[in-house]
């Protein structure tokens, strides 16, 4: 079974990193994975998005026009990509920055005030970790404990950042469970 999730937002929101963490966790679980960035001429503050594909068999095409799920960290991303998400998929909406909703009734919206929750924890920079853990918890795409280890490993060279990112990780799980 192949699943695709698109992560999208502003450059600097940690979009590529949260996608990489998810891909890492899936790889550690033994799945086939592919991390496909959208690269192109971009400017500071421009959009950043990438897609993670996981599958139990060899992944073919890296060209994904209709992902199973979407993690939208800003409004332009939601507006652009919500319409292409497959029916029945999860659309995570970073409600701190996105005042609107997807406008679809055939997908499942997961409302996560990621930026506000991150600020409350002490650093807006960990909004991406809140988003990825909330998404992983709701979608079941990867094992939560494996993902948690991947986050820890990612920050292994900057150990003082681990505690806040662990708090952010738990906050994401809490939000996903409560919504």
């Amino acid at each position: 079974m192949q699943k695709e999730v698109m992560f999208a937002g502003f450059g600097g929101q940690g979009i590529l990193l949260s996608a990489k963490l998810l891909a890492y966790a899936a790889m550690k679980q033994g799945a086939q994975v592919m991390w496909i960035p959208s690269y192109g001429p971009e400017m500071r503050g421009g959009t950043a998005y990438c897609t993670v594909v996981t599958s139990d068999r060899l992944i073919g095409s890296p060209i994904i026009k209709n992902p199973s799920h979407l993690v939208a960290m800003n409004r332009p991303s939601l507006e652009k990509f919500a319409p292409v998400v497959k029916k029945g998929g999860i659309v995570l909406i970073n409600s701190s920055l996105i005042p609107i909703r997807s406008g679809r009734d055939d997908i499942e919206e997961l409302i996560v005030p990621a930026n506000q929750a991150a600020v409350d924890l002490g650093s807006v920079k960990c909004a991406n970790i809140i988003a990825v853990s909330a998404f992983a918890a709701r979608s079941g795409m990867v094992d939560i404990e494996i993902l948690r280890k991947c986050v820890q490993e990612e920050f292994a060279s900057k150990p003082k950042l681990i505690p806040i990112n662990m708090k952010a990780f738990d906050e994401g799980l809490k939000i996903a469970a409560a919504s």
Binding site: K20, A23, Y24, Y39, G40, G60, S61, I63
Partner: protein, 355 residues
């Protein structure tokens, strides 16, 4: 060794080190700059050398210099950069020096764009530089194969004493996949004492080795070209590599596709199969030498009525496919340039329109 998740560009850099190449010269260009970014950190850790040249022209001759000294050496670039290096590639081929060139192809011509393309097929396989030389060209379809082909490239370059090219594309350079670096692909460097300018003292010799591509005597130059030709003929016998996909049973049409595009085609073939439509594919892994016989045999199978060359360009490999078919089947082209890549659905729709 355990699998690691790496970008194609970084994996190619690591593969070169694993292959025992400690010399890397390059000039940055999108979409391959991460190779340099990776190796600028990695090379000092293994006592290797990384020099950023002042241009790709300079880099080409840095490669020539190191190769002439008998060192394993490689560079990475993208299309416009490879054009600038092409003069040096011709000299390297003429002087019979082993060297590895990686082209992470972007759209052209001219500056073109920075998105994935296969527009350099002709340049790579028909000689971007001047003179009667050919270059062994391998085209990976993902990060793992990019690693394996990079490691093999150094060995093949030494076997045939000439330049070898890895022809990737922006997608393969930029995407991340789990990779392993197979230990068994490491082959120790050949002894180059017979020809390399590696120092008379070092090799304990009293005679000079001269590395050159200038032969003013027409008879000598002809003989030199015959020696080169013999290498290329041997490549055609020993180095043809390809993958046959869904060709065991009957199929109504045959796709010929390589690199990133072939991954899309595989998904299209799988999707069509689930609808009861059988399509086969030959994926050349070496673009020179070209898998002529495999394509000919697969295309002339009784059940196969149509042949289509699917490329991320305006139709280049199709000429080699036509040549392979010797007029027995017609072949059409399907592709686009600029960086948008057809989806599996679009490929499937096109193939259905043919049959």
């Amino acid at each position: 060794m355990a699998k690691v998740l790496m970008k194609g560009n970084e994996a190619i850099g690591e593969a070169a080190i694993k292959a025992g190449c400690l010399n890397y010269f390059a000039y940055p260009i999108t979409p391959q700059s991460e190779v340099a970014e990776y190796l600028v950190k990695r090379m000092p850790e293994v006592n290797g050398v990384f020099v950023q040249g002042e241009s790709e022209v300079a880099v080409g001759y840095m490669i020539f210099g190191a190769a002439a000294c008998g060192e394993r050496v490689f560079t990475t670039s993208s299309s416009p950069g490879v054009s600038l290096m092409s003069e040096a590639i011709s000299y390297i081929a003429g002087a019979r020096c082993p060297a590895v060139f990686v082209n992470i192809v972007r759209g052209g011509p001219g500056l073109g764009g920075i998105l994935p393309s296969q527009g350099d097929y002709f340049q790579a396989t028909k000689g971007g530089g001047h003179g009667d030389y050919r270059m062994l060209v391998m085209a990976p379809d993902g990060v793992q194969e990019a690693v394996e082909m990079t490691m093999m490239a150094f060995v093949l370059a030494e076997k045939y004493r000439g330049p070898v090219m890895i022809l990737g594309d922006g997608m393969i350079g930029q995407m991340m996949e789990p990779v392993e670096f197979p230990d068994n692909l490491y082959v120790p460097p050949t002894n180059k004492d017979e020809w390399a300018t590696n120092g008379m003292d070092r090799r304990g010799s009293t005679s000079k080795n001269i590395v050159k591509s200038l032969y003013l005597d027409p008879k000598v130059l002809n003989q030199h070209n015959l020696t080169l030709k013999a290498q290329y003929e041997r490549m055609k016998k020993e180095e043809v590599r390809f993958e046959a996909y869904n060709t065991d049973g009957d199929y109504q049409a045959l796709i010929v596709s390589y690199g990133t595009m072939s991954r899309v085609c595989k998904t299209a073939i799988d999707n069509l199969k689930s609808q009861g439509i059988e399509i086969g594919m030959i994926r050349p892994k070496t673009l020179f030498p070209f898998p002529e016989k495999a394509i000919h045999d697969a295309a002339t199978k009784e059940s196969c009525k149509k042949v289509v060359s699917i490329e991320m360009n305006m139709g280049q490999m199709i000429e080699d496919v036509e040549r392979s078919l010797k007029g027995k089947r017609e072949v059409t082209w399907f592709g686009q340039c600029g960086g948008d890549i057809y989806t599996p659905e679009e490929v499937a729709e096109h193939v259905i329109s043919l049959i």
